[in-house]
Symmetry: C2
Subunit: 355 residues, 2 copies
Amino acid sequence: MIPTLEWTPAGVNFLDQTRLPLEETYVLATDYHQVATVIRDMIVRGAPAIGVSAAMGVAIGIHHSSATNLVSLTAEVDLICKTLAETRPTAVNLFWGIAQVRDLYTQLAAANTPIPQIKSAVVALANRLYDEDIAQCKTLGANGADLLPREGTVLTHCNAGALATCGYGTALGVIRAAVERGHRIDVLADETRPYLQGARLTAWELLKDNIPTTVLCDNMAGHLMSKGRIQAVIVGADRIAANGDTANKIGTYSVSILAKEHGIPFYVAAPFNTIDLATPEGSAIPIEQRSPREVTHSNGKQMTPDGVGIENPAFDVTPAKYITAIITERGVLRAPFAESIRTMAANSSSTLTTA
Amino acid sequence: MIPTLEWTPAGVNFLDQTRLPLEETYVLATDYHQVATVIRDMIVRGAPAIGVSAAMGVAIGIHHSSATNLVSLTAEVDLICKTLAETRPTAVNLFWGIAQVRDLYTQLAAANTPIPQIKSAVVALANRLYDEDIAQCKTLGANGADLLPREGTVLTHCNAGALATCGYGTALGVIRAAVERGHRIDVLADETRPYLQGARLTAWELLKDNIPTTVLCDNMAGHLMSKGRIQAVIVGADRIAANGDTANKIGTYSVSILAKEHGIPFYVAAPFNTIDLATPEGSAIPIEQRSPREVTHSNGKQMTPDGVGIENPAFDVTPAKYITAIITERGVLRAPFAESIRTMAANSSSTLTTA
């Protein structure tokens, strides 16, 4: 089990993903400000992991509060939630994780629950979300496994693995589940500039599971597709609109077009809470712009001339029309996605995680 | 004028492109072995620049020979040409540049020309090829300038600029010519992993000419196209087959598919000697595989875990069907390219550079 993040008595312990693959070090966040920093600086990243991290951030904030009455605690909870919500804009799971803990808090506060009981309850919820995330990934993996070839090469972009979740992974969870069923799968991992999630993280965690993995630069995928070297593409998601349009790591959109041009199936794997029913289509998803320095510098050395402009959008949106299927823990969604998503949401609303 | 390479009494002087943009340093190659190393290590790169460098390499080899008779000089010339031909496989200009000087040598040797005269003649030819390269780039630029928008953003991949030629550039030459005619053009430069020709070289030389330039990671081009941010794409070429299929820096193929999907024109700019009439189609073009270390390491630091596989093809082939036009110094080629190339080759064979 790869320890992406973990609640400990001392605080939330995060595997430092900025230092992988050569260093396995941990960052202990002992208050909610530190959890916010860990999310913003991408020490933890990946939509599902961000969601649970944010929930743990709210929980640790409440847990450590010195408020002696509910009025001041509620004011503090507002500030905690606001701080965590401002870390990253694109992954809807962040807001979902915050809302889960806040909703429970609101409910308990409305019932005048004693503060010590509230503290225990929110920590318990954050830990339950952690456990559920792993269970969801495994179910999701099982749901998608047989979509992957019995034998062949699967391309993935960024890291939608154990490191992007509390364990097992979404896109990489599907690959793991297929391998567990005996599929013979080689993985091609786009290095995923500028942060190199593929080169650093996907390669690291798949090699730990002895799944043969080859890293390529992002600009090589089309060439390998043209040579018949890729049988399927599978990626994660940071937010899926109600019509199936999917925000994911920058470059995903290009890969989806290349897959279409070569007749290769393109799968999205994500827990159902990545679907944002309040966002009607992809154009409404906010796209985070990150620091130019991620592009201009490499290991501390400047690679671009002074004065040049820099683009660094962290995500792009893949329109639903390029997506073969969306794999969730509740089942596999197919086009027309607006309809299949609506149906799945309605059918399974009773199983939604609630306080 | 950017001094990409230059014949000097002391040897061939190369601007060290591995150290740009932060350091402007030079490497002096005083014998043909050093010229071969300079080409292999990409101190000089770019198909037209490689062609002239190779010609200068043969010339310096002959020039410095201590052979006292034509039999031993001819044996030496064979070795010189073989050494230079083995540096890089894809750019046809390499073989063209070698052939230009060797053909002249063969002709002069057959006429029993005294060795000192042969030495002067081959050096003069290498320098003439240098001058012709610059003149060709300017004519090519003028031929293509009005294909670019009067006002808009042009995406380029890799570096097909002054640094890839003896000056002015091919794709960037077209951009320069358009700007000189008053077009208001912003350039988006794909950073071009793994060697970062776009981030390091294209940005550097365009900023020197005050052409507004923005660097993006290769995986961002599709996203910017979807936002209507790109009006044209222009790239260089390392070898163009007789049917118009074009080998160019890895990633070019993907960009061509993205351009097609977004209805954006995709131009190739290359001197006519980049067209290899002996290669019927793209699948026959040899694709250089370079060292995995270019992908695994960044500024000396390993970014990938031990044991992972690495892909590093240096080029890919863009089928003619994705190319809007091929811009040469002899005119603009359009589909069907097999026919337009054949016609242009026949019409202008009298103007081919010959000894």
